[in-house]
């Protein structure tokens, strides 16, 4: 191997950083373009695409596009719906999936292995292949609410929440995590006379912070970014989430400034959230790669 002289080393280091930075530009610039454009009037926005100004906060900047977007569509309602559906689903998912995983890992019962195998098998069924039969199913499901018995779940919050609570991946993540906890802890608590519910709430869940964060982040991304499902089960704008609300902006006359404002509005909070919790986000994706 050739000896490395300091200059050569410095040059190679610089090359590496140049390569890394050029790639970073490819990932960042489209998003930067989106945010910058959202503050520019349409004419300037189109003119700016011809140069570096597209990525810079220059010219006539204002929040006009934002107020126009709120006028064109009930943006507040869309955001509220998304936050509600995402929040409730994430919370219920953490509870139901951890409870099931707890039972699969720590309890012995008849049927345990079969049920777990079925759950793992669902991992190879893409949602897209069951969307249409599920649409028919939920259109016929009954529901008992304040107004008495109703048939059909279309155009509701529940149709956006309940089918997404439990999924194979979330249960699988909890199972993998619980398997690494010391079983003696559980058995000792049993000897002391703790009930299963007490062991779940007082012993196991306090130790489950990391896997809760992972499962919550993954579910959050899935739920907030929902598109196909709400598109086919929600026709009323009162229940529409943000991604379906996009349609208001590209169907009639296309006003790119308003579109960019709406895109920025629904994306930047998530990006900020990501940048703050960057390590947790990346760790949660990495943990889906741990092969069981």
């Amino acid at each position: 191997m050739a000896t490395i002289n300091p200059d050569n080393h410095g040059l190679r280091l610089a090359t590496r950083y140049v390569v890394l930075t050029l790639i970073a530009v490819i990932f960042i610039f489209p998003l930067l373009f989106m945010v910058m454009s959202s503050f520019k009037p349409d004419l300037q926005l189109l003119r700016d695409t011809s140069g570096i100004r597209a990525f810079l906060p220059v010219g006539d900047l204002s929040f006009d596009n934002y107020s126009a977007a709120f006028k064109r569509a009930p943006v507040g309602t869309f955001v509220f719906n998304s936050v509600l559906v995402t929040g409730v689903t994430v919370a219920l998912s953490l509870f139901f999936c951890s409870l099931a995983a707890f039972s699969f890992v720590f309890l012995n019962w008849k049927g345990r292995n079969i049920l777990l195998s079925i759950i793992i098998a669902t991992l190879i069924v893409p949602f897209e292949t069951i969307a249409i039969p599920l649409l028919l199913l939920v259109s016929k499901l009954p529901w008992i609410g304040l107004e008495g018995l109703q048939i059909g779940w279309l155009n509701t919050y529940r149709v956006q929440i309940i089918p997404w609570i439990a999924d194979g991946l979330t249960i699988f993540l909890f199972v993998q995590y619980f398997k690494d906890l010391p079983r003696e802890l559980i058995e000792a608590s049993r000897v002391e006379g703790a009930s299963w519910w007490q062991i779940y709430t007082k012993v196991v869940m306090p130790l489950a912070g990391p896997v809760m964060a992972t499962a919550a982040i993954l579910k959050f991304l899935v739920m907030y970014n929902q598109y196909l499902w709400p598109l086919i089960v929600v026709q009323q704008e009162t229940y529409r989430p943000v991604m379906v609300g996009l349609q208001y902006f590209f169907q009639l006359n296309t006003a790119w400034g308003e579109i960019m404002a709406y895109l920025t509005l629904i994306t930047v909070p998530v990006l900020a959230f990501y940048l703050v919790l960057q390590r947790a986000f990346i760790a949660s994706i990495a943990s889906t790669g741990v092969k069981g």
């Binding site: 950083y17 695409t49 597209a54 409870l99 099931a100 039972s103 190879i124 069924v125 000897v191």
Partner: protein, 356 residues
Amino acid sequence: MASKLTTSNRAGWAFALPGFGLIAMFIVVPFFFAFFLSLTNQRLISPNPTEFIGLSNYKNLLSISVLTIDPETDADGQVLIGDDGQPSYPAVRSFTRNNPDFPQYNGMREWFRWQSGDQAKVVVAKDVVFWKSLRNTLMFVLVVAPLQGAIALGLALLVNQKLRGMNIYRAIYFMPVVVSIVVVSLLFRFIYDGDDGLLNNILSALSFGLFEGRDWLGSESSALGAIMGMSIWQAVGFHMVIWLSGLQTISPTLYEASSIEGASKWQTFRYVTWPGLRNTAVLVLIVITMQAFALFAQIDVMTNGGPLDSTTTVVFQAVERGYGKQDISGGATISVILFLLVLTISLIQRYLTREK
């Protein structure tokens, strides 16, 4: 291991049932329901009772055959040459519309043709749009799965270097993953635009004006490619992170050993890194393939399947029929075919990458 202390059928079922019940109800039941529906003529809302119609949904979607057409000849048996210098052929219609001599082609339409000697071979199908969606989806999978996997690995190797600031680069490369593909699709509609699109302007600036610019999504030859590029851009960070976690499981002592042995960079990658990434590679390939088969949002937001069905996909067709035309059984049949396709490809991948 089966200790008396932890045996409890009642508690076990009680804790597992809510989660399992939801999965059974909303994943397992619709999954089998799809098979059932594909054998019926179910519609979303219909005054008529549902009938069991056997395999005819599958026949309508999948019927395909090759029609050989002889050129038209004049009275002497000479082949007639058209204005374009090619032999002229009778219209495909004359074979596929109520022609009692060719009942097997009835109701079919031309997909594409090629010339074989004087004869024209015409591929005809009952549902040409479905076949196009199948072709587009397979093309998308075949290009995106290896390309995205390889780029993700390249990025993972780059940010796995022990240099200052790697965390920042890793965070940036991952950033598009947290942005919804729907948002990305709409944003790229503007970037790919033919008139004021950012991409055209950048390419033209980089080539000092040589690049003429094109309507990326408006042309049959570039629309699917443009969608592939964007999809890779959005999702590649996800798989980079999975590769990274694979890279970090490789023991540093192996790298020390190979550097003591004087191995080159390529040799180290080939004999240390790559073998250590086996399981990760299988996982990445299968995950990307499954995601690629599910291609829908990009199409719905960017092209609606056009131009000329050049970007329509299997999922897009399933949704357009099952939801758009309320033809639940047609949509369900496409879903079943898609599932069988995904399953077959995953099994083949598993077989090809099995431990030898």
